[in-house]
Every structure is written in structure tokens, then in C-alpha cells.
């Protein structure tokens, strides 16, 4: 798995320095591309100088006009940071769900979490309750949805991939129906909610970044701590318990963290689907089975992925802009089918 040698003829799964380097370089390149590309082209050298000038203890002259500087630091940068944060938490939440449900298709969207969170957020917008309440209410909606999905799939029969996903579809459909009903009742907010549903990083500023950051940090920390135990859960509940693991506690912590992350992301950026499937699966294909590797790399690659997807969203039909959820769905739907096919092949 890595280049470190072991005296015992095997090496515990871990991320080697080479893999970290590749992930980090890709993230830096994605972020730079996000900062440079747009309706106004900025000089790469000047942007790098301007960024360096903002570092502590560094003073550097740079040749950006005042408008360009504001464009860089008040529009593009929060958008890139936000894209990175949302991508990181959606990807790591997907990996977390896949681990606890031992199901490669578990994803914040397929489990109904996003629809539940969306319903919560719609209710807040519709009632005009103030955007500060959105993350919390979205979280409650997300937890309720994942709880409903899990309970439904177990009562219907077993914990197979199919029942879990079908239960998620049912829960998501129900949440979406209620959401539509609320929208019809509050016609004046329709436009605001609709643009939010399609996913948007267009209007984000630093305040949204600060709203999401604490949730993202808490959720990512919990999932990072639990990554070794997610491998243990791969043995099944009974064997994990036989190894002294409190399975219910681990499952609850991971689901809470992943749902908190998803709900917070949904509440600031709207519905951006499939990140939680595409990113962890690609990492799994490239690096193997262990959540010790998948969880940390999902954070980094999730960030790069969504920054690049957002770049696509604002360049493909320039000067217009696609909702980012359209871009991720465009990539994610075929990817989902590929995963489904490979699962059929292996079973």
C-alpha cells in the first residue's frame, strides 16, 4: 500500500507521502484555476503576488487594480473557498455513510438526507424565519430523513443495497413533495428557493464561508477520528462488537457528523448531488478499500472536485452560468451507473 517497509511482511493501510503530494498539488492547481479563470482574466503572476501579500509577515507589491483586487478577494476567493469546503464535506460525508451502512451507494442524496435538509431550509425561507436558522433546521430535516430511510429499509427487509437506496428514494420523494407543497403556498419565495435547489455558489461571500466552517471542521474531525473504526465495521456488527467496538455508538456518531456536514453544506450552497459518490469511489478505485485512506483523501479531492466543477459551471456557457448541481449531476449520473454495473459484476 505504501513505500514504508515493515518487518512483518505487511504494511497497514495508510496514505503515503506521494499520495498526499499529488492530492495537495491538485488542490492548489484547482484553487488557482478557480481564482484566475472568469469573465475578467487575471494575470497569474500578479494573483500569486497578491495572495503572497496577504500572508502574515509578507509584504509584496502587486499589479492588480483596485477593482481586480476586490474581484479576487471578495468574489472569486470566497467562491473558491466555499466550493472547496462544500466539496470536502459532501465527499467525506458520502464516504462516512458508505462506511457505516457498508453500502457503496450510500450518499447524502440517495439516503434522502439532502432532500430532508432541503425541506427544512425551504420551510425556513418560506416562513421568512431568517437565514441564521437554516443550518440548524436543515440539520433536523436531514437527520429525520436519514433516520426514516434507515428505519424504513430495515422494516421492509434486511439491509441490502437495494432496500436502503429504494427507501432513500421514497423518503426523498416524500420530502420533495412536502417541499413543493410549501413552495406553492409561498409563491413569492419560489424563485429564491428554486435557485437554491439547483445549487449555487454564485452569491456566496465570506459570511457564508464562516457559517459553514465550524460545522465542516466538527464533522470532518469526527469522521477522521472514526476512520479506523469504519474499517472494523466492515466486518459486520457482530464481529465489530466482538472486537469491543460499540457499534451503535460509532454508527450514530458517524451518521450525525455526516448529516451535520451535509445539512450545513446544503443550507449554504443548495443541492449539489453525487459528490459523495464520485469522489470516494474514485479514491477507492485508485487506492483500495481502507477508510483510513478514503476519508482523508475524500476531504482533499472533494474540495478539488467541486472547485473544478464550479469552474465548469461558470465557463461552459459563459457569459451565462450553469447551476453547479447540474454539472455534478451531469458527471455523477453516468458514474453512478458505472458503480452499479461494477457491483453487479462483483456479486
Amino acid at each position: 500500500m505504501s513505500e514504508v517497509s515493515s518487518p512483518h511482511a505487511f504494511v497497514p493501510a495508510r496514505i503515503g507521502a506521494g499520495r498526499w503530494l499529488v492530492a495537495a498539488v491538485l488542490l492548489v492547481l484547482a484553487a488557482l484555476a478557480g481564482l484566475l479563470v472568469g469573465s475578467v482574466a487575471l494575470s497569474p503572476i500578479e494573483v500569486i503576488k497578491a495572495l503572497a501579500d496577504r500572508l502574515p509577515f509578507v509584504v509584496m507589491e502587486y499589479g492588480l487594480s483596485e477593482v481586480e483586487t476586490r474581484l479576487l478577494f471578495e468574489l472569486r476567493m470566497p467562491r473558491v473557498v466555499m466550493g472547496g469546503l462544500v466539496g470536502a464535506v459532501l465527499a467525506v460525508a458520502g464516504a462516512g455513510y458508505q462506511g457505516v451502512f457498508r453500502n457503496p451507494l450510500a450518499d447524502p442524496y440517495l439516503l434522502g438526507v439532502a432532500a430532508g435538509a432541503g425541506l427544512g431550509a425551504t420551510a425556513v425561507i418560506g416562513l421568512g424565519a431568517g437565514s441564521a436558522a437554516i443550518p440548524l433546521v436543515a440539520f433536523v430535516g436531514g437527520i429525520a430523513a436519514v433516520g426514516a430511510t434507515y428505519t424504513l429499509s430495515r422494516t421492509v427487509g434486511g439491509r441490502t443495497t437495494t432496500t436502503l437506496i429504494l427507501a432513500g428514494v421514497a423518503v426523498a420523494a416524500f420530502a420533495t413533495a412536502v417541499q413543493t407543497f410549501l413552495l406553492q403556498r409561498n409563491y413569492e419565495t419560489l424563485r429564491e428557493v428554486y435557485s437554491w435547489i439547483l445549487g449555487r455558489l454564485v452569491t456566496v461571500g465570506w459570511s457564508e464561508v464562516w457559517t459553514l466552517l465550524p460545522y465542516a471542521v466538527v464533522a470532518a474531525t469526527v469522521l477522521l477520528v472514526m476512520r479506523r473504526l469504519l474499517d472494523v465495521l466492515g466486518l459486520g456488527d457482530e464481529e465489530a462488537a466482538g472486537l469491543g467496538v460499540d457499534v451503535m455508538r460509532v454508527r450514530r456518531l458517524v451518521v450525525l457528523a455526516a448529516t451535520l456536514a451535509t445539512a450545513a453544506a446544503v443550507s449554504v450552497s443548495g443541492l449539489i448531488a453525487f459528490v459523495g459518490i464520485i469522489v470516494p469511489h474514485t479514491i477507492r478505485l485508485l487506492t483500495g478499500w481502507s477508510y483510513r485512506v478514503i476519508i482523508p483523501l475524500s476531504l482533499v479531492y472533494g474540495a478539488s472536485f467541486l472547485i473544478l466543477a464550479d469552474l465548469g459551471a461558470r465557463t461552459v456557457v459563459a457569459p451565462g452560468e450553469l447551476p453547479i448541481g447540474v454539472v455534478t449531476a451531469f458527471l455523477g449520473a453516468p458514474f453512478f451507473l458505472l458503480v452499479l454495473r461494477s457491483m453487479r459484476g462483483s456479486s
Binding site: A9, F10, V225, G244
Partner: protein, 258 residues
């Protein structure tokens, strides 16, 4: 040591085990035998705490618990396809690590020893899905040994092994309990093997303890036939009792005649 005291296990109001009391001392090997559904696996799971039960299971102190103090090998383990043998055995160290810990040198050494003992060195990088049934069973046993718990509960540890590997595995267990004082409880379908290795056999039937004693005491036709049915003969020689399945006269293939 491990002792079950007045243990009762019920599923949906139906009692499947007990009430049952059984004590296994330090360094002792007890073989649980009995027909399918007798409650052998359930009794082991109750000890690990993954099956709800009444009564108590004592591991020699209130601070002792599953994982660090009992290693359990299930009858049908779930093997993650892509995981390799070394990392699978390493999961046996989980109980020693807590939530925040990571494996240190000690842990890797325990895993290395378990891998060597079960002759898995050549296979340690192989994915579990590529192993034969017998190799996989040795990997599961290695994971249980890597726990380095004083009590080993093994549910059919030799069911997928050929007779040579079965003997090898049972001899390793025998060595461990003699040299390291491990307490071993096995559920085995092969009555002859159980009798050769265990100090004491416990015959369970329909959740109740129906006979207990040395192989010579338990492996008799009078004791076994009520539980297993009439198709059993027991032959005793210098190695101990051997249980032989027989066919009733009417089912026998006809003898060749000249």
C-alpha cells in the same frame, strides 16, 4: 477462565439456551458438541455480549470485557473482499486501541506472530476474496489470536479445513493453552477431533447441557444417540473414542457378489 452462570437466551419469547451453568478454568480446553441448533454458537455469542441473555458471564473480574479478554471467532465470518490478510489480522488489535489510538510496534508484532503461527506469511498481501476456504479460516483464526486475549471462543474453527490443516490448527491451540495458559472453548461438529483435543466435552441439545465429562465419558453410543439419532457407532482404541457414522441396513449399497 470463563463461566456462564444460569445463562438463558431467548429469541421472541422462545428459550434457545439454558438455563445453563458452565465453568472453564485457566488453561482448560472445553469442547462444546451437539447437533445443529443445540445452542453452541448462541452460548459463545452470549459470552461475547452480542446476544442478549439473562444470568451472568464471568471472565474473572468485572473489568474484563469482550475484545481484550475474550477473542471470538464466528462460524461464518464476514470477510471484506478487497481487504488484505495482513490488515485483516491487524483488526484483531482493535480492542487494545480505543477510539483515538493507532497501532504501534507492539501491535504489529502481535500481528506478525499470529500470521507466522498460522502459516500466512506468504499470503499477507493477498486480498481476502482470493483465498481458499481453508486459507480464509486461518486468517480469521489469526485475527482472533492477534487479540491476545486470555480466553478464546472458537465457533467451528476447522469447518473449512482439510484434516491435515485441521490438526495443525488444533495443535497450535493446544500449544497456546499449554504454554501461554489460554482458556479455549470450541464448538466442533467433528466429535472425534473434539474428543482428541478437549480436556472436557460438553454435550448440548436443545439449549440444555445433557452430558459433560472426558471424551471417554461423553463419546459413547448411549450418550450420543439420543441427541444425534441412531446412525452412530463409537469405536475406542489407544487414541481415544472414534465416532463413526453408519448407514441403516436398508440404505446400504448392495455388496458385490461373486
Amino acid at each position: 477462565m470463563i463461566s456462564w452462570r444460569d445463562v438463558v437466551v431467548s429469541f421472541d419469547g422462545v428459550t434457545v439456551v439454558g438455563p445453563l451453568t458452565l465453568r472453564v478454568g485457566d488453561g482448560e480446553w472445553v469442547g462444546l458438541i451437539g447437533p445443529n441448533g443445540a445452542g453452541k454458537s448462541t452460548l459463545l455469542k452470549a459470552a461475547v455480549g452480542i446476544v442478549a441473555h439473562q444470568g451472568s458471564v464471568d471472565l474473572g473480574g468485572p473489568e474484563r470485557r469482550a475484545g481484550t479478554d475474550i477473542a471470538w471467532m464466528p462460524q461464518r465470518p464476514l470477510l471484506p473482499d478487497e481487504m488484505n490478510v495482513g490488515n485483516y489480522v491487524l483488526l484483531g488489535r482493535t480492542p487494545h486501541l480505543g477510539y483515538l489510538g493507532s497501532e504501534g510496534r507492539n501491535d504489529l508484532e502481535s500481528v506478525g506472530r499470529a500470521i507466522e503461527r498460522l502459516d500466512l506469511v506468504q499470503l499477507s498481501d493477498r486480498a481476502l476474496s482470493t483465498l481458499s476456504g481453508g486459507e480464509a479460516q486461518r486468517a480469521v483464526l489469526a485475527r482472533a489470536l492477534a487479540q491476545e486475549a486470555p480466553v478464546l471462543l472458537l465457533d467451528e474453527p476447522t469447518s473449512s479445513l482439510d484434516i491435515g490443516h485441521a490438526l495443525e490448527v488444533l495443535e497450535i491451540l493446544d500449544w497456546l493453552r499449554h504454554n501461554e495458559g489460554l482458556t479455549v472453548v470450541t464448538a466442533l461438529h467433528d466429535l472425534t477431533l473434539a474428543g482428541r483435543f478437549a480436556d472436557r466435552l460438553v454435550l448440548l441439545d436443545k439449549g440444555k447441557l445433557v452430558a459433560e465429562g472426558s471424551a471417554f465419558e461423553v463419546l459413547t453410543e448411549d450418550t450420543l444417540i439420543p441427541s444425534y439419532g441412531p446412525g452412530i457407532r463409537v469405536v475406542t482404541n489407544g487414541d481415544g473414542p472414534t465416532v463413526i457414522p453408519t448407514r441403516r441396513q436398508s440404505d446400504r449399497p448392495s455388496q458385490p457378489t461373486d
